[in-house]
């Protein structure tokens, strides 16, 4: 197990040991809050993912087919077009939200 952080030379200790410990504890709390926010973001996006593909595209497809959407039956459109468009949008919303989250919790890669 050589999972040492070759990637992050910037985690080297600097400054007095006491401040160091205090900062480490603060980081720990920050990271936990970041992770909870991350998981919340994921769950809400995955809920949309599920409702659109498995919901509109499969489970409720027959009910939705009673409506028409331009030249498509609505359920058919969701299963062959709409769900794919939604997936693309979901990933970009995720990227946008996560970048904001990274900055808010001071863990983004730009510093």
């Amino acid at each position: 197990m050589s999972q040492k952080d070759q990637q992050q030379p910037d985690t080297q200790p600097s400054g007095a040991p006491v401040e160091d410990l205090a900062r480490k504890a603060a980081d720990e709390i920050g990271h936990q809050a970041y992770w909870r926010a991350n998981v919340r973001t994921l769950l809400s996006l995955l809920l949309v993912w599920f409702l659109v593909s498995f919901g509109c595209g499969i489970l409720w497809v027959d009910a939705l087919n009673a409506y028409s959407f331009f030249g498509w039956k609505l359920g058919f459109w969701f299963s062959q077009q709409g769900s794919i468009y939604t997936f693309v949008v979901l990933i970009f919303v995720y990227v946008f939200q996560m970048n904001a989250l990274d900055r808010r919790f001071n863990v983004d890669e730009d510093r």
Binding site: M1, Q3, H31, Y34, L59, N65, Y85, M98
Partner: protein
């Protein structure tokens, strides 16, 4: 110029391009060879991922399947794109932060176990070889259909090209050739689709065209007309599904989780410079993939309409020229059941067994006779699904250069996927099996040499699979997804999202998922294929969708076992905390 000369020119030009890129992007280190040095631009990685992912099956077969299955084809459309949401949100960024080279790397390190690493190597090699056999066969088929080259020679040429850039360039060479191959394949897919969309609906974008009205003056929507025609001919309406909801649900879920768990796709996200790039790169990849995947159902609907139009109730002598060409290659067959000299295209199978067995003689109208039993239906037409993409440009009477383009695109799709798979196999051997298990003291230069040797050997084996295709290829492709869904996906997901997840839980979870999935598929596909009907399936789940049940079992077993076994070592817990954060605060 004839379509064949143009095909030679296009294929020659694109192959020249791939070779030039290979020479320009040689690998000098193992990091170059396994992950292209880890500095591929996210946009380039997106295009490479799309080409890596879209195989001969996506390019050549998917539209054909949808054309004949209609609404049920949605399981592939959603399954093979929805997996990217799982990949982008739940796996890619964290695996990028992990910053190693392969999927077995992650499994072995996260579960502090050589056993887990070896199980992962076995799964990677099995999944990838299953897949690659189909790709090399696809290369051979395109060569033989369009260039009238012997199928084995075609496979040989394909092997030579892949050998050149995969062995020389490793992931670096593969990445940049895949970018070029994406451009070729998407252009080749969209051009005929746009042409046909304009011809049928006057709308240039096929994904909108297939929801528009047909321009035959009737003012009907295209799908409305197609539904009407299919029902009139005694077939299932195009927009109505025949599969049960539960089966659709399970198959789609297995394809999604399988997509997210496929090693050759995951490893592409090891090649970008940062966590943020891994996230956005998955987004680009899905846009590139969606371009083809939203076009495919349109191509399917157009093709079905065009085929009915061109063939039904037509006399054999009056059939278009392409009919006899594809009849000669065995993808079409006609039996004049009612002896009226005209082709009746109806619902139900024309022949029994379904594929034609030609007797070598010609019938009253000049058609190739078959020795099959004729089925009970009045349908007189056998039509292979693969014909849709290959022959549609001819069916729609498009210019020769478009026909030639389709061949170059098919080759690009098959070669790009084959190369990505080869790399995964070679790194599993040289890195996970040799460097990390059997020969830990390999130097960098030796490891790189072993990587090249194993890539070369893998190409040879893949080529043999292409030339002597094992009969079970089609049967086991579904298996590859089921396997990835039931083994890798839960173990990687839990490895990231639970710090309590340990070695015992991972191994028992993987094994139970694998055993359930494997035995269900082996039972219905090989031991008792005659029982492979909905009434014998568990809960109505077909072997194609069983991977989802395997995955749920894997999750359940892992969650129980990890509660009654010791927690993972502190170092592993810290590693998991580390991969969750893009960068530690300074």
């Amino acid at each position: 110029m004839s379509a064949q000369v143009l095909t030679y020119i296009f294929v020659g030009l694109t192959f020249g391009l791939y070779i030039a890129i290979a020479i320009w992007s040689r690998s000098g280190s193992t990091k170059d060879f396994y992950v292209a040095g880890g500095h591929v631009h996210p946009l380039a990685n997106g295009a490479a991922t799309a080409a890596d992912w879209m195989s001969a099956a996506s390019y050549l077969s998917m539209a054909g399947i949808i054309a004949f299955e209609g609404a049920d084809g949605a399981r592939y459309l959603m399954g093979w794109t929805g997996g990217y949401v799982l990949l982008a949100l739940c796996l890619a960024p964290y695996l990028r932060k992990f910053a190693k080279f392969t999927v077995p790397d992650f499994v072995g390190d996260r579960y502090y176990s050589q056993t887990a690493r070896l199980v992962a190597v076995l799964c990677v090699v099995f999944i990838s070889f299953t897949y690659i056999a189909g790709q090399m066969r696809g290369v051979g088929i395109v060569f033989s259909r369009f260039l009238e080259v012997d199928i084995d020679l075609g496979v040989g040429i394909g092997m030579g090209i892949v050998f050149f850039y995969a062995v020389l360039g490793g992931m670096k060479g593969i990445t940049y050739t895949q970018v070029a191959q994406y451009c070729v394949l998407i252009f080749a897919y969209l051009v005929p689709a746009i042409y046909i969309s304009l011809m049928l609906t006057n709308v240039p974008l096929p994904m909108l065209g297939f929801g528009s009205t047909v321009n035959d003056g009737s003012g009907m929507f295209l799908l409305e007309k197609l539904d009407g025609l299919t029902q009139e001919l005694g077939m299932a309406a195009f927009t109505e599904g025949k599969k049960s909801t539960v089966d659709m649900f399970f198959i789609t879920a297995a394809l999604m989780a399988g997509t997210a768990g496929l090693p050759h796709v995951i490893v592409r996200f090891f090649t970008v410079p940062s966590v943020r790039d891994a996230r956005i790169s998955a987004g680009y990849a899905l846009i590139f993939i969606a371009l083809l995947y939203t076009t495919a159902p349109a191509v399917a609907a157009f093709a079905r309409l065009n085929i009915i139009d061109a063939l039904n109730e037509t006399e054999y002598q009056a059939l278009p020229e392409w009919f006899s060409k594809w009849e000669d290659s065995g993808l079409l067959a006609w039996v004049d059941k009612n002896e009226d000299g005209k082709l009746q295209y109806r619902g139900g199978a024309a022949l029994e067994p379904a594929k034609p067995i030609f007797s070598g003689e010609r019938g009253a109208s000049g058609e190739r006779l078959v020795s099959n039993e004729v089925g009970a239906s009045t349908n007189e037409l056998y039509i292979d699904r693969d014909i849709i993409v290959l022959a549609h440009p001819e069916i729609a009477q498009l210019p020769n250069w478009v026909v030639a383009l389709v061949a170059a695109g098919g080759l690009a799709a098959a070669l790009s996927t084959a190369a990505g798979l080869l790399l995964v196999i070679s790194s599993a051997i040289s890195h996970d099996l040799l460097k990390n298990t059997l020969a830990r003291n390999l130097t960098e230069t030796q490891e790189l040499r072993w990587a090249r040797v194993s890539a070369a050997v893998a190409i040879l084996i893949a080529g043999l699979f292409g030339i002597y295709p094992p009969g079970f290829v089609a049967e086991v492709v579904a298996f590859a997804f089921g396997l990835a869904a039931a083994s890798f996906f839960p173990v990687i997901l839990l490895g990231i999202f639970s710090t309590r997840m340990n070695k015992e839980a991972a191994i028992s979870g993987m094994l139970s998922g694998l055993i359930l999935t494997t035995s269900y598929i082996v039972y219905f596909k090989f031991m008792a294929p005659e029982l492979n009907h909905a009434e014998h399936w568990w809960f109505g789940i077909s072997p194609e969708g069983i991977g989802t049940l395997g995955m749920l079992l894997n999750f359940a077993v892992a969650l129980v076992v990890m509660r009654v076994t010791p927690p993972p070592p502190e170092a592993v817990v810290n590693m998991v905390r580390g991969i969750r954060i893009p960068k530690q605060a300074t």
